[in-house]
């Protein structure tokens, strides 16, 4: 999978490395900004209420 991505990036090795870095950063950004905030209430750390309103279901 990673080899496939590497082969399909344009340019020489340096350009590919730079593009890979950008791709990694983009993935991390999407994860931190959208995926993890969505996933976190599904885990038990955030249950602090007694009426279940704030609890994960």
């Amino acid at each position: 999978m990673y080899g496939w991505i590497w082969r399909h990036l344009p340019g020489n090795a340096w350009v590919r490395a730079a593009l890979s870095l950008v791709l990694v950063l983009a993935v991390v950004y999407v994860l931190f900004q959208y995926v993890f905030p969505w996933a976190e209430p599904l885990l038990p750390f955030g249950d602090v209420t007694v009426d279940g309103e704030g609890a994960a279901r």
Partner: protein, 230 residues
């Protein structure tokens, strides 16, 4: 065969990296975001209050505000000297996950700050800035000080943190009625405060609860209440 093994290895590495990133997010990033959010909420509240403050020498401010709390909006700042002299957190309306990311959450179904009834507040113990990390350190007699911009409300804690189950809704009733009746702190209606968080620290099997009663009120024009001086 080689392709299979390689793909499987890459998948394992990816999942491992995902888990590490998620832990970093939980332990580190939510704290940074929460610090920024709480500072922002407190800042906007104080700016709001400063704008509304009566001119010196004009008629005294009217009594406690009675405007409804806006869902998801901050309306008070809480100080708990036991958690540190500089510990302050905004109190927002509602206890949804999105609200608790930005500060402490007021159970929408419970009483107003300083009014007769039970003003109940929930907060994260871990992650999102760890606001209630030291919750088990609370002791009877500790002060919980809140301000809504016009009044300082000093509540005094009545019990050591009580451990209960998540469905124990009675603890936030106007006169708290926990499942274990013998730990109920109050017998008759009054001006009460309830704080809840999770127990154990990283789990969700139980909740920790403390109750407090309103001990004193001071207008903000008189300066900080005794509990916050020193």
């Amino acid at each position: 065969m080689r392709v299979l093994v390689r793909t499987f290895s890459e998948l394992c590495i990816t999942i491992g990296a995902l888990i590490v990133l998620f832990v970093v997010h939980l332990l580190f990033w939510t704290g940074i975001e929460a610090d920024r959010a709480t500072a922002g909420e407190i800042g906007s509240l104080r700016a709001d209050w400063a704008a509304k403050a009566p001119e010196p020498g004009s008629a005294p401010a009217p009594g406690p505000t009675t405007a409804a709390y806006e869902p998801g909006e901050p309306f008070a700042v809480m100080h708990i000297p036991r958690f540190g002299k500089d510990w302050d957190r905004p109190v927002l309306q509602g206890t949804e996950p999105g609200v608790l990311r930005r500060g402490l959450g007021h159970y929408a179904s419970t009483g107003r700050l300083g009014a007769t009834g039970n003003f109940a507040v929930a907060g994260h113990r871990r992650t999102h800035g760890d606001p209630f990390k030291d919750f088990p350190e609370l002791r009877p007699g500790d002060e919980v000080v809140l301000t809504d911009g016009t009044t300082w409300f000093t509540y005094r804690i009545a019990n050591r943190p009580h451990r209960t189950v998540p469905g124990d809704i009675g603890v936030i009733e106007p006169v708290p009625r926990p499942l274990r009746r013998e730990v109920a702190p109050f017998d008759e209606p009054g001006r009460y405060l309830t704080l809840t968080t999770c127990e154990p620290e990283w789990g969700s099997s139980h909740r920790l609860v403390v109750w407090a009663h309103l001990d004193a009120t001071h207008p903000v024009t008189d300066g900080k209440p005794p509990a916050l001086r020193s």
